[in-house]
């Protein structure tokens, strides 16, 4: 469905030139002219106030020229020194998707988009973690995350590179940025995905996420528009094992900025003073629910957690009671964790809680109720009173550690 310019209506205002993400419109003798490479995204049509651009033989649904798009791009979040954990997880996932593409006979590169200032050797690290190619934008304007110019930069990169898939972490930053980009590129965006796979028949990205309190899963696809965009929940995908010998390429890109691009000004950034709870990185988590009865009950769990070198987690019921801070909450409205071992003490196992722990390698439950839903969701359930089991377990671990010292 080719795009056509109706010369008689074109006033030469150039709005469409600025709106075309793929920079295929130029002005010739005061009239808009299409160059080769149009993706049929339709951005110019939305922008022209004079109805001078239309699709020819429009079929009711816009279908972009999807064949023009290739490769998976991952937006890297970082603090100008190290990439965030979710960005590395996304690279790991992108590698997995690339493998699936190659099984389907398609070679796809994994590209990391690295935007910031004075980025050290981060680009090499991204290659070690799975990137084939790193696009680097290194400019003082990008030192801090800003919605306005980061959007412009990524749209410019996507316009030149035409990625088939474009991924972001479902963090505050990713969820601030990705929707704006999706709008400007006129494509779809799936929020907060927990699984991504390539459809065997159509080769498109199937994006799965929990819905309605973790009761259900929805799989969403974006068949006719590109790039296929998703934000992905932190703590769900697996990192690619770091390989310092892995080979990759780097490319520096410049973004053309002028002062009109700066519409949001950052006045201050304050680190939150709270101690950072590292549940997402924990290898073992000891978690307490309403069954711990009070703050003292959680203290008992904390002694076990300290003995194991674990982190302390909680259900929402325990958080709502005020026994522990919100940053310890695990589940649909808390954190998603993927420890090797999750020990659930006095937690009934509501769907909302299970939504946050199902990636754990092993789950052990301690509960007085044989019928609690946590039982079927666990590898081993010990039916009993946590106040009797936990202190003994803590002592036994301490003894064992002494013996083997």
């Amino acid at each position: 469905m080719p795009v056509i310019v109706h010369e008689e209506k074109c006033t030469g205002c150039k709005l469409c030139v600025a709106a075309c993400p793929y920079t295929v419109i130029s002005m010739q003798e005061e009239k808009a002219v299409l160059l080769p490479g149009c993706t049929y995204c339709g951005a110019c049509i939305d922008t022209c106030e004079f109805g001078a651009i239309t699709f020819e033989d429009f079929q009711g649904r816009l279908c972009m020229d999807v064949a023009l798009f290739k490769g998976t791009h991952v937006f890297i979040e970082h603090d100008n020194q190290t990439a965030s954990k979710v960005s590395l997880e996304l690279l790991g996932k992108a590698r997995g998707l690339a493998d699936e593409f190659s099984r389907q006979g398609k070679d796809q590169l994994v590209t990391a988009i690295l935007i910031g200032y004075e980025l050290g050797d981060m680009a090499d690290e991204l290659i070690a973690y799975g990137a084939d190619h790193v696009i680097v934008v290194n400019d003082e304007s990008f030192k801090m995350y800003r919605t306005d110019i980061y959007t412009k930069a990524i749209v410019q990169i996507a316009g030149v590179k035409k990625p088939e898939i474009l991924l972001f972490g479902a963090t505050a930053q990713g969820r601030d940025l990705a929707p704006r980009i999706a709008s400007r590129l006129r494509t779809g965006l799936t929020a907060d995905c927990t699984a991504l796979e390539i459809c065997k028949d159509e080769g498109i990205l199937l994006q799965t996420k929990p819905a309605f309190g973790g009761n259900m899963m929805v799989t969403i696809a974006c068949p006719d528009n590109r790039p296929q965009m998703a934000t992905v929940r932190p703590g769900v995908m697996k990192k690619y094992p770091r390989d310092p010998d892995k080979i990759g390429t780097k490319e520096v890109m410049k973004i053309d900025l002028d002062e009109n691009d700066f519409i949001i000004h950052i006045r201050d950034i304050m680190a939150s003073t709270k101690k950072h709870v590292k549940l997402e990185d924990a290898e073992i988590i000891v978690a307490g629910g309403h069954g711990v009865n009070n703050q003292q009950g959680l203290k008992i769990l904390e002694t076990l957690s300290d003995e194991l070198g674990a982190e302390l987690g909680a259900s929402r019921a325990a958080v709502d009671e005020g026994w522990i801070g919100q940053d310890h909450q695990i589940g649909q409205t808390g954190k998603t964790v993927q420890p090797d071992l999750y020990i659930a003490c006095g937690i009934s196992g509501s769907l909302q809680h299970l939504a946050g722990i199902s990636q754990s390698k092993y789950i052990i439950a301690i509960n007085t109720d044989r019928k609690a839903p946590i039982v079927s969701a666990s590898d081993v359930t010990f039916i009993g009173d946590l106040f009797q089991i936990v202190p003994v377990l803590k002592d036994k671990i301490r003894e064992y550690k002494k013996r083997t010292d």
């Binding site: 919605t147 306005d148 601030d176 799936t190 929020a191 073992i284 194991l308 079927s376 010990f382 550690k401």
Partner: protein
């Protein structure tokens, strides 16, 4: 200060149940409510209006005609004007199509200094409509606001961004999505509800009332499609142990050692 607040009618997800046999969502009998954070947005709009000399607060919703009750509730909270954008042609919209349609309604409203949205809904939960709307309207945005201050045509917004708090400044007109921590929404008074039904009208706009590009609305204007929904199984087929406490503790330690999980 003229403020537009976008509000969505949502099913009360606390009440949504699943049919254990078919795994389908049971929506019947589930009450519809104003998306909770949209109430925070309304509350904030009323507060900001009060601190400026004049102007009005308009609530705007896209949805089926039943969504009128949601707008009535907003009127009872004290907003000046309510507009419902409703048409069969808008059905099946994803966030791109929703934000596009809302943007065209806002262009028709014309006069505004600020647009306030909720950070996210409790049904779709994407949090995408705010930023996408800002993009269609070419406005600066701030998401997850916990504090908003206005001085002349400058808005200052404090937001919690994962582990940091950011303070941003931008010129009006601007779009801000608010967090539920920004304020405590007022309760509606029953007599105000009744008055809202009597005195104030909800204006309804259909497709014909807006200058829409047909390729951007409803199902056809939505790049994303739901392929399937399914019930998530958490079952691990594990074992259940019932023994005296000391033996349980012994078993757990054995499990930890066997899987080499203990760091010494």
């Amino acid at each position: 200060m003229n403020i537009i607040v976008t509000v969505k009618q949502v099913p009360d997800t606390h009440e949504v149940k699943i049919d254990p046999k078919t795994g389908a969502l049971i929506r019947e009998g589930v009450p519809s409510i104003i998306n909770p954070e949209d109430k925070n947005a309304i509350e904030e709009a009323l507060r900001l209006k009060k601190s400026s000399d004049d102007g009005e607060v308009t609530v705007l919703s896209m949805g089926p005609l039943q969504a009128e009750s949601t707008l009535r509730e907003a009127l009872s909270m004290g907003v000046d004007r309510a507009i419902l954008v409703s048409d069969r042609a808008f059905a099946g919209a994803d966030t791109l199509a929703t934000s596009y349609t809302l943007s065209m309604a806002i262009k028709k409203i014309e006069r505004y200094d600020l647009i306030l949205c909720g950070s996210q809904t409790i049904d779709g939960e994407t949090g995408q409509v705010g930023p996408q709307l800002a993009e269609w309207l070419d406005l600066p945005q701030a998401t997850h606001a916990e504090e908003i201050n206005i001085q002349g045509n400058l808005v200052t917004v404090k937001s919690n961004f994962d582990s940091v708090t950011r303070v941003m400044e931008m010129k009006t007109p601007a779009l801000i999505t608010v967090s539920n921590r920004i304020n405590k929404p007022r309760y509606k008074h029953m007599n105000k509800v009744l008055r809202a039904y009597r005195d104030k009208a909800v204006v309804t706009w259909s497709k014909e009332d807006l200058k829409l590009n047909p390729i951007r609305i409803g199902l056809n204007g939505s790049p994303t499609w739901v392929r399937k929904t399914f019930v998530h199984s958490h079952s691990r087929d594990g074992i259940v142990v019932e023994k005296p406490a000391a033996n349980c503790a012994e078993d757990i330690l054995d499990f930890i050692l066997e899987k080499a999980l203990l760091k010494l």
